[in-house]
């Protein structure tokens, strides 16, 4: 892949600008044609759907240069560098016969387009990498000479506004701004006391103080976690049938804490993708790896576990590339990318990074990181202390993880020489069944260091047996043995072994005198020698370890564990994406497009994660900065936040994007807080959202940021806000997901034992991020407001506008509860109607209503009272008291929480 053209970055940017400004005019004969800015858009629009990376009609494809230059099926050459006349492509584009002319059955290319292509071929038909894969040059901050900018962002924005003959909007109303920035940073409206403090503060720092305060609010992490959990496809259930509970909320809490601690984004990346591979990882770093354990799994009878394991790994590849690189890899699973220069086998070199973890689609989602309680927990701490004293903390931590995880484990796929066994590899049964006379071997083991072999097994029935372990050959050099006694479900059986020499494998032989003997072996793990002489204490500690391994844990979280090198999996290309048809074997590598020099040796997930956030990767910072920008402004600088490839949109403000990306990944040291602070401190952000006539005409979609966008709030925000303004919201953080009220019958799933039980007390009124998320039946009010279904990574929630949404905020009992609660407060807060109305509106919107709205609301009170004085029963039913006004104000509060202005950021 040595096609990268050496060129001067500034001149490229200048060319982009020039062509944007002079679009359509190609007068300068000596100007070098810019492939990305001029040629690629023509090819993508007109040619690539037939002459791309997959479909190459006539043997001619335009994604890779070498394809474009090669002989086509007709024997002609589509492109002959330096010679447009000899290039069949130009001949066909210019053909007079419409049946021969390209693009077929479409309008011919414009004169200008033809001129660009001709000149480009004349100049050698060089390809250039797509803008997003090129290393950004630090852009010069434009100086427009105006007073408007509050920080650097505004210089870039103002320049674009000028180019489009636009002027910035005035600064937003103070109250609107306070509500906006609070919703943007914490997802919640501003608390009344903070609002008063801000409004009363006339110093120059008032806004910045408010921003700092919000950035440090615990709600900050809860709000941004919602965004990240869409990408992580986090849910509290397994996905496919029967979609049972999955305890993975500790990962959700990890994300919230990471945001609240402003964990640098590079660390945030590495811990989630490869925390387990860090040297001496902490428990938290293991929890972080649940990021990729959020893939869906199945327990439907008859499904193949390997098929679904592979489907999870595929999802991990796709998710990683989408989240960090804004790249859709899913196309490449079956064939080379139709538009971007990524080749089919490169999907599998990526796949190889993720194909080596011990998890699979078994009946239980091992590996699970247990949380121990009581005596078991103190036992672990005692052992840890003892090992630390004998050796060091790192060694102790290694043992702690072994006790909580029992990993890495080896399963039938790692065994060899299996005789008289049945290997079950199906949804609800995944084990090796052994009988009297069964045997198998565990190859590639460093036997010298072994002290224990742990057998995770279950006896079927009561017939007992015996297992004998030996080195070198079957039942020669016996190193240990154990009775296989009846069990209560699966359990871990420690088999002490006595090894006196190095061998390469351990043999297992099973015996029983009872013909009904059946034993199911789920996995085997290896206990190494403790760092101490094998004295009595040693034996005691080992006995404790054996006990802990069988201790019932709670809240066991699925995490990633890498298979040992000796037992690592081979990765093959799947021919046309079919997992049953293996092609060539591949090793882990990054697609050439992203890492043309391949200077770093990337062997495992940790290497890959480090590469993602290394200075060698210009894409990550751009993609991530754009994600945060999109959440704040409702639209990214690159609108297609999920696609930075050639079919994605071009950035509206390329220099601003690069400026932010460079700051974020260098000077700001990947601090999300610094990034967000810079964004919300800009004058661009602080503009009013009033749409002027000028805006409407010249910037109808607000792509030049001539005003602040009015963005409808997210599903979680809408509910959280209603609870917050009514005083019902619980700010309790963390823990198991909760179940707010939901009508009966929403959960009605086949073969499932889980049920929805409304959480008691304040737990029914927690923030949306804590709501139990069952994939096959998510909380309905969230889905109606376009929340992600958490099946797969979702970069953008597409906002829709349907009557069903109105029905939620009007009728969902939680909104009526909020209204009734607020109404109760209104009655006590003020005396006359006018003050009550004003007070209620202020409570909901954080500002005073204008006179017109007060009039509308007073009119409503009058009509409501009139109605209720006729139908007193109705009022009584609604308010559950004799006080008719409580009903009146409940209806009013419900109306306030359905105002357009309440549902959007102004």
């Amino acid at each position: 892949m040595k096609k990268r053209k050496s060129f001067n970055k500034n001149s490229r940017i200048a060319t982009v600008l020039l062509t944007l400004v002079l679009s359509g005019l190609l007068s300068c004969n000596h100007e070098k044609i810019d492939f990305n800015a001029q040629v690629r858009p023509i090819l993508n629009k007109n040619c690539i759907s037939c002459h791309g990376g997959v479909k190459q009609s006539g043997g001619f494809g335009l994604v890779f240069r070498e394809n474009a230059l090669k002989e086509t099926k007709s024997g002609k050459f589509g492109i002959v560098p330096g010679s447009p006349e000899a290039s069949e492509m130009m001949r066909r584009i210019n053909h007079k016969d419409p049946e021969m002319r390209m693009p077929l059955e479409k309008e011919p290319l414009s004169e200008n387009e033809v001129a660009i292509l001709t000149k480009w071929i004349e100049q050698g038909a060089e390809w250039e990498e797509h803008w997003s894969y090129l290393k950004p040059a630090d852009p010069e901050v434009p100086n427009t000479g105006s007073e408007w900018p509050a920080n650097k962002i505004d210089h870039f924005v103002e320049q674009k506004l000028k180019e489009h003959k636009l002027t910035p909007s005035p600064i937003a109303d103070k109250f609107d701004l306070a509500r906006r920035v609070a919703l943007d940073l914490t997802g919640l409206p501003l608390a009344q006391d903070r609002l008063q403090q801000f409004v009363g503060d006339n110093s120059g720092n008032a806004y910045e103080d408010l921003v700092d305060n919000l950035l440090n609010d615990p709600g900050f992490g809860e709000h941004w976690a919602s965004m990240w959990l869409d990408l992580a496809r986090y849910a509290d259930s397994q996905g496919y049938v029967p979609d049972n509970y999955r305890s993975v909320w500790k990962y959700r809490d990890w994300v919230i804490r990471a945001f609240n601690q402003d964990m640098p984004f590079d660390q945030f990346t590495i811990e989630q993708l490869a925390g387990d591979l860090l040297p001496d990882p902490s428990i938290d770093q293991l929890i972080a790896t649940a990021f990729h354990r959020n893939t869906m799994s199945t327990n439907e009878g008859g499904t193949n576990n390997e098929e679904y394991r592979i489907s999870a790994v595929v999802d991990r590849v796709n998710t990683t590339w989408e989240v960090w690189q804004g790249t859709t890899m899913s196309c490449v699973q079956c064939h080379s990318h139709p538009y971007d220069p990524i080749r089919h086998h490169e999907f599998y070199t990526s796949f190889a990074f993720f194909n080596n973890t011990t998890d699979w689609d078994g009946p239980v989602e091992y590996p699970l990181l247990k949380e121990l309680h009581g005596e078991d927990s103190s036992k672990v701490e005692e052992i840890v202390q003892w090992i630390t004293a004998q050796s060091n903390a790192t060694e102790a931590n290694k043992w702690k993880k072994f006790m909580l995880l029992n990993e890495p484990s080896l399963r039938a796929e790692d065994f060899s020489d299996m005789k008289k066994v049945e290997n079950y590899n199906r949804s609800t049964q995944d084990f090796l069944r052994v009988f009297d006379g069964s045997s198998f071997a565990l190859p590639n083991i460093q036997t010298k260091e072994i002290d224990r072999v742990y057998l995770h097994y279950k006896l079927r029935g009561k017939a007992k047996g015996r297992i004998i372990l030996s080195l070198d050959s079957m039942q020669q050099d016996i190193i240990g043995q154990a009775n296989l006694l009846p069990t209560n479900g699966f359990q871990v059986l420690p088999i002490p072994v006595n090894v006196d020499h190095e061998a390469n494998q351990i043999w297992f032989a099973v015996q029983s005198s009872n013909e009904h003997f059946r034993c199911d072996i789920e996995s085997i793990s290896i206990g190494e020698k403790l760092p101490s002489p094998p004295d009595e204490e040693y034996q005691q500690v080992y006995a404790s370890i054996d006990q802990v391994l069988n201790a019932p844990g709670k809240n066991a979280t699925p995490v990633m564990v890498e298979k040992n090198e000796a037992h690592s999996r081979e990765t093959h290309v799947f021919v046309r994406g079919n997992w049953m048809v293996h092609g060539e074997q591949v090793a882990p590598a990054i697609p050439g497009l992203f890492d043309p020099d391949q200077e770093m040796d990337l062997d495992n997930r940790l290497d890959m994660a480090r590469w993602l956030v290394s200075q060698r990767n210009p894409l990550t910072a751009r993609v991530i900065v754009n994600r945060f920008w999109a959440k704040i402004f409702g639209k990214g600088l690159v609108v297609t936040v999920e696609d930075f490839g050639t079919l994605g949109d071009l950035p509206t403000h390329p220099q601003l994007l690069d400026w932010l990306a460079i700051r974020f990944s260098t000077a700001w040291q990947w601090s999300v807080r610094k990034l967000l602070k810079t964004i919300v401190m800009s004058a661009t952000y602080r503009q009013s959202s009033v749409v002027s006539e000028e805006n409407k005409q010249l910037d109808p979609y607000n792509q030049w940021l001539s005003r602040s966008p009015r963005v409808r709030l997210s599903a979680e925000q809408i509910r959280d806000q209603a609870l917050a303004v009514s005083g019902l919201l619980s700010r309790k953080m963390y823990g198991k997901s909760v179940m707010p009220y939901q009508p009966d019958g929403v959960w009605n799933l086949e073969y499932s034992v889980d049920s929805w039980k409304t959480s008691p007390g304040e737990d029914a009124f927690r923030r949306g991020v804590y709501t139990y998320f069952r994939r096959s039946s998510p909380y309905p009010s969230f889905i109606t407001f376009d929340a992600s279904e958490r099946d797969a990574c979702l970069s953008r929630r597409i906002k829709t506008n349907t009557p069903l949404q109105a029905l939620v905020t009007l009728n969902d009992p939680v909104y009526m509860q909020a209204a009734r609660h607020l109404a109760g407060e209104v009655l006590h807060a003020a005396d006359d109607d006018q003050s009550k109305v004003t007070w209620a509106y202020q409570k909901v919107m954080g500002k005073q209503p204008d006179a017109e709205k007060v009039k509308i609301l007073l009119n409503m009170l009058e009509r409501a009272r009139k109605h209720y004085s006729e139908y007193t029963e109705e009022a009584y039913h609604l308010a559950k008291t004799e006080n008719m006004d409580l009903a009146v104000f409940t209806v009013m509060a419900n109306a306030l929480m359905n105002m357009d202005e309440f549902l959007v950021k102004n």
């Binding site: 749409v691 009557p803 105002m899």
Partner: protein, 488 residues
């Protein structure tokens, strides 16, 4: 133009430009529009860019709307429609290894026995179609329908197979057929959702709500599930004891404030909000009205076997007719409980299947005949079937003889039937071998069925695409052929 219509038109313009020009620059462009937000005729006519795609419908449609009855769990074709006397002769003999080699089954292990048909068959109608005695009423409707006896699929587990049938892909994430259709054609009734889902049998299908999901299409195209108890659509009713008059007062207040907000901010989205609330108010009337089967005359209820207040397939069939009558584009029925493995009485071919057939026999027959007598069958497509078929072998879960007669999941052959708009009457396509194991003539793949349904609606399945993450997606992926032989 009154405010409501003005707002709606604005909404449509905005929605189209914003979503469809941005989102599907290579997709449908303006013709596809919100199923909920207004009739299709407003668009596709106003000359907006259509992204170079041919407008919808691509050609004159035969069907305007669809009722799809999905028997979740997969009914046995061998006990209902695919008559195999030869299989009876092989009953209780060991299955020959040739049928087992290289095959995967969900539960069959070792060597199963062959299992003869468990019910008697007769020939009915002028067309002489085979129907078993499990469906005595349906024999009256056979001259209206086309059977396809050579259906086959790629998936042999319920959830993936249901997704495959409904979305064209065995994993979650793709839009369902109903979502595609309402996305493409919109709704004919702006006061009802364009795509409605009715579930009976006590449980949702294995694939859960993904079976009627919108996939990557905007969420307004997801099927709206009607509920068997409580609100027919979630939150359609006002809160307990809030009268319609009071709701009207409150909505008028909301919209008055929103109009005031519009004066101040000038954002067209506020007009959409006003329209949204107006429509919600109308839906609150029209949905309960449409869903109220007590309004049907006695003889109609009797015809379907419908009993108001009960959750049943019969009620859902009657509701389906009411909904299509009111212009709902796509009505999807799921009936759970067809997975006859023979593990107990309720999943046996002799008892469980008989009971399930009794539940559907009268209503599905009534649906076809009632649509016909109303002239609706001419442009309504009715489809009945499961997600795969059942084996001619008796299931032997765990390699042992099971207490009742049951059959395992089978991908190679199953039967569906279709009736109405554009489909031949009294016709049968495809044949299976003498034991019903494998389709031997005119095999129809799930993607072919999808292509055919779209074709009947005037849509070329190869041209009907949506661009998502850089790729043009189709319901039929890169497969599917229209089954021309069943077209009238």
């Amino acid at each position: 133009m009154d405010l409501f219509n003005e707002a709606r038109v604005r909404q449509l313009q905005l929605t189209t430009r914003r979503h469809f020009l941005k989102k599907c620059s290579v997709g449908l462009g303006s013709i596809a529009l919100s199923s909920l937000m207004g009739p299709q005729k407003l668009l596709g006519m106003d000359g907006l860019d259509q992204g170079g795609q041919p407008p919808l419908p691509h050609f004159l449609p035969k069907a305007k709307r669809v009722i799809y009855m999905h028997m979740a769990g997969a009914p046995s074709q061998l006990e209902m429609f695919d008559y195999k006397p030869e299989l009876q002769k092989l009953h209780d003999l060991d299955c020959p290894p040739s049928l087992l080699e290289g095959k995967k089954f969900a539960f069959i292990q070792g060597t199963p026995k062959m299992l003869g048909p468990q019910h008697q068959f007769g020939q009915y109608g002028q067309s002489g179609q085979h129907v078993s005695d499990l469906l005595p009423n349906f024999t009256q409707a056979v001259d209206e329908v086309t059977f396809i006896k050579s259906m086959h699929t790629d998936e042999f587990n319920h959830a993936p197979a249901q997704l495959f049938l409904q979305t064209g892909n065995p994993r979650v994430g793709r839009p369902s057929m109903g979502a595609w259709v309402t996305y493409g054609l919109g709704s004919e009734n702006e006061n009802l959702p364009g795509y409605m889902v009715l579930v009976s049998g006590g449980k949702n299908p294995s694939a859960g709500k993904n079976a009627w999901g919108n996939g990557f299409l905007p969420s307004e195209y997801q099927g709206v599930q009607c509920r068997n108890s409580g609100d027919p659509i979630l939150y359609i009713s006002n809160p307990d004891s809030m009268s319609r008059n009071m709701r009207k007062i409150s909505l008028e207040t909301i919209n008055a404030i929103n109009r005031r907000q519009y004066e101040e901010f000038g954002d067209n989205e506020i007009s959409s909000r006003i329209a949204q609330y107006e429509m919600a108010f109308k839906m609150q009337m029209s949905v309960p009205d449409a869903m109220d089967i007590t309004k049907e005359p006695e003889y109609i209820k009797e015809m379907y076997g419908a009993e108001p207040g009960k959750a049943s397939f019969a009620n859902n069939c009657l509701l389906a007719r009411r909904l299509v009558e009111k212009g709902v584009r796509y009505v999807q029925l799921y009936d759970w409980g067809w997975d006859m493995h023979g593990t107990d009485k309720s999943t046996s071919l002799n008892e469980g299947l008989k009971e399930k057939c009794t539940q559907i026999d009268k209503p599905m027959t009534a649906l076809v005949l009632d649509l016909k007598q109303r002239g609706l069958l001419d442009d309504t497509l009715v489809i009945w079937g499961g997600e795969f078929g059942r084996t001619p072998m008796r299931e032997n879960r765990g390699g042992v003889v099971m207490p009742y007669y049951g059959r395992d999941h089978h991908t190679e052959a199953f039967t569906i039937w279709m009736a109405g708009a554009g489909v031949k009457q009294g016709f049968s396509l495809g044949e299976t071998d003498e034991i019903g194991y494998y389709g031997t003539k005119d095999r129809v793949h799930v993607h072919d069925l999808q292509a055919t349904v779209l074709h009947l609606l005037g849509i070329d399945h190869e041209k009907f695409t949506y661009n998502f993450q850089g790729r043009d997606f189709r319901l039929t992926d890169v497969h599917g052929h229209v089954v021309n032989d069943i077209l009238a």
